[in-house]
């Protein structure tokens, strides 16, 4: 046991120490009891408005805002999975192979909780699709750093026929004619996933936007964002069945209603059919 003489001491700064106590007490009272009920109504979520560059030597974050170099490419873009999705329960490195090189960091929340589809498995490791650029990026996470669940859903998007199908347990439960990207800004084909669900007070074209883990192949940035492709609705129905968007998939309101209930991490398979 340390004697009093051994205990750490500080230069007496009663004003400063008292001040911080005062500040905290004031702020505590200001915030009232909101702390245990989450963010106040209408307050912004924890989503980052952008992504800061990582400090020197620090792994980049894998998010819709970032590009991760060295991520293995998805080599089975037309293969379904068993529907397993994972949620990182802690910040964890993304590796380029089981026990391989760390190439990025994955956080437990991005746009709400992070859920990623599992496309491969090795002992103690899961391979997931990443939300970062380039399209088709994958990475490996430690199994002990993720919570597992199953989604019964699958979303198919057929670009040529401009159809979106929602499947549950391999049965089509909804099919809609949708709008896709124009020739100069096509909707990218490949295997991606539902990354989040959010309301954006700065736009009025859709009550909810469902960003995917994919990005426009032609817009490196768009409207101040990183070119994230999303599913959302549109104020006029003349866009459905056309190639008029800048990469997003525009769906009728009733489709959005159903898709908003589909778990994050659910696979979205976009093909040229």
């Amino acid at each position: 046991m340390a004697s009093p003489e051994d205990r750490p001491r500080t230069s007496r700064k009663p004003l400063l120490i008292g001040a911080v106590v005062g500040v905290v007490v004031i702020l505590a009272a200001v915030i009232g009891f909101a702390a245990l009920s989450g963010p106040p109504d209408g307050s912004p979520s924890g989503i980052a408005a952008g992504e800061l560059a990582p400090a020197a030597g620090e792994l980049p974050l894998s998010s819709t805002y970032t590009t991760v170099d060295g991520a293995p490419q998805d080599s089975a873009v037309d293969a379904k999975t068993s529907g397993v999705v994972v949620h990182p329960i802690r910040e964890t490195p993304v590796h380029d192979a089981p026990n391989g090189r760390a190439i990025a960091r994955m956080e437990s929340t991005q746009i709400g909780d992070t859920w990623l589809p599992v496309i491969g498995e090795d002992q103690g490791w899961v391979q997931v699709l990443l939300p970062s650029k380039p399209n088709g990026s994958t990475g490996w996470l430690r199994s002990q750093d993720v919570e597992r669940a199953n989604t019964p859903y699958l979303i198919n998007v057929h670009l040529e026929s401009k159809k979106l199908q929602l499947l549950r347990d391999d049965k089509v439960v909804g099919e809609w004619t949708v709008g896709i990207g124009k020739e100069s800004a096509p909707t990218p084909a490949g295997r991606t996933f539902l990354l989040g669900a959010f309301k954006d007070a700065k736009q009025s074209y859709s009550p909810v936007i469902l960003p995917l883990g994919a990005h426009s192949p032609t817009h490196d940035t768009f409207g101040g964002g990183p070119g994230t492709v999303a599913i959302h609705t549109w104020p006029t129905d003349d866009v459905y069945g056309t190639e008029t968007s800048d990469g997003c998939i525009r769906v009728p309101p009733d489709a959005l209603d159903q898709l908003t209930r589909v778990p994050l991490g659910t696979l979205v398979m976009i093909d040229e059919d």
Binding site: A2, S3, D6, R7, P8, R9, T10, V20, V21, G22, V23, V24, I26, L27, A28, A29, V30, F33, A35, P44, I47, A76, A79, T81, S82, R90, T92, N99, I111, G112, W115, I119, G120, D122, Q123, G124, W125, Q127, T138, R142, A149, P152, G196, A197, K199, D200, Q203, Y205, V208, I209, S216, F222, G223, G225, V229, A230, S245, D246, T260, T266
Partner: protein, 303 residues
């Protein structure tokens, strides 16, 4: 600036010097040391009050190291009732570390009979006994990285866990942050409830907060009230209770020590398992994934 090293307690392996220093606002955070595998400390703070990690221990060679301290009341003097702790312990050994703090009282905000933070074989967690925040009960075993966020004013993070590149894990028990990143939200208008609460509270500062309408006004008022410059881009104060770091386990999550023999697989497995539904089926799914929570956010998409 006064600093004084703690004498080692018990184990000869106690190597870390612990210092408590009150620094002027704007100084760099005192907690800058790299996380060492198998290490722990009980308490630290940065901001207006800077406290280097107390009861810090590490086990670089796998040998057990431990430290115990019966409070730091004399550090805080008349304010010990505002930032109070009882017994602080920390211990580390090969592949494991743990720290506990009794009778925690953080600025009258957060109280707990015991805060225990632990890490073993690359996994970890925390336990809070009779913990309350503003009088409301805290969970006894918070899920990892549970955030009680009233940003931009106060943020409380419980059981924050970060995996490092080498597979080691750091578990931070409690982190209380005052004005976290207020600079991003200075223009937010205070709610009527927030404004109504201000007058009776300004007396605690011994000063007035005139024309308070936004978060920025609060920051400015605090600046003037304290007579010091508050940097709105940095937290006014951060207090950490419990940090435990441990090296990776065998990687299979079973804690059985069997390992998986994959250490030679660097770069060899890229893409081999892509799309193999049978492989993916090896993952034991537990339950159905939840429906998404629709967040308020601003992310311009491709329209």
């Amino acid at each position: 600036m006064n600093t004084k090293k703690l004498a080692g307690v018990g184990a000869a392996a106690f190597t870390a010097a612990t210092a408590v220093t009150a620094l002027l606002l704007g100084s760099t955070a005192a907690v800058a040391q790299e996380a060492a595998s198998d290490s722990a400390f009980a308490l630290s703070a940065s901001g207006l009050l800077n406290i280097d990690p107390i009861s810090y221990v590490e086990s670089p060679d796998g040998n057990a190291a431990e430290n115990q301290l019966a409070g730091i009341g004399d550090v805080l003097g008349e304010h010990q009732s505002a930032i109070g702790v009882g017994v602080l312990t920390a211990e580390a050994r090969g592949g494991a570390s743990e720290t506990s703090v009794t009778k925690v009282n953080l600025l009258q905000l957060l109280r707990a009979d015991l805060v225990r933070t632990y890490c073993e074989d690359g996994d970890g967690g925390m336990e809070i006994v009779r913990g309350t925040l503003l009088g409301r009960d805290l969970p006894e075993t918070p899920v990892p990285s549970q955030v009680l966020d009233v940003s931009p004013l106060v943020k409380l993070t419980l059981n924050d866990q970060v995996r490092h590149e080498d597979g080691s894990l750091t578990v931070t028990g409690i982190e209380l942050t005052v004005l976290p990143g207020a600079g991003e939200n200075l223009d937010r208008v205070l709610t009527s409830d927030e404004r109504a609460a201000l007058p009776e509270l300004t007396g605690l500062l011994g000063t007035e907060l005139p024309a308070v309408n936004t978060v920025g006004d609060v920051v400015n008022g605090v600046t003037e009230g304290l007579g010091v410059q508050v940097d709105p881009s940095r937290p006014v104060q951060t207090i950490t209770v419990g940090s435990a770091t441990c090296s990776a386990g065998d990687g299979d999550g079973n804690g059985d020590g069997n390992g998986d023999g994959n250490d030679d697989g660097n770069g060899d497995d890229n893409g081999d398992d892509n799309g193999d539904a049978d492989e993916a089926a090896e993952v034991v799914a537990v339950g159905t994934a939840p429906a998404p929570q629709v967040m308020d956010a601003s992310l311009p998409v491709t329209g």
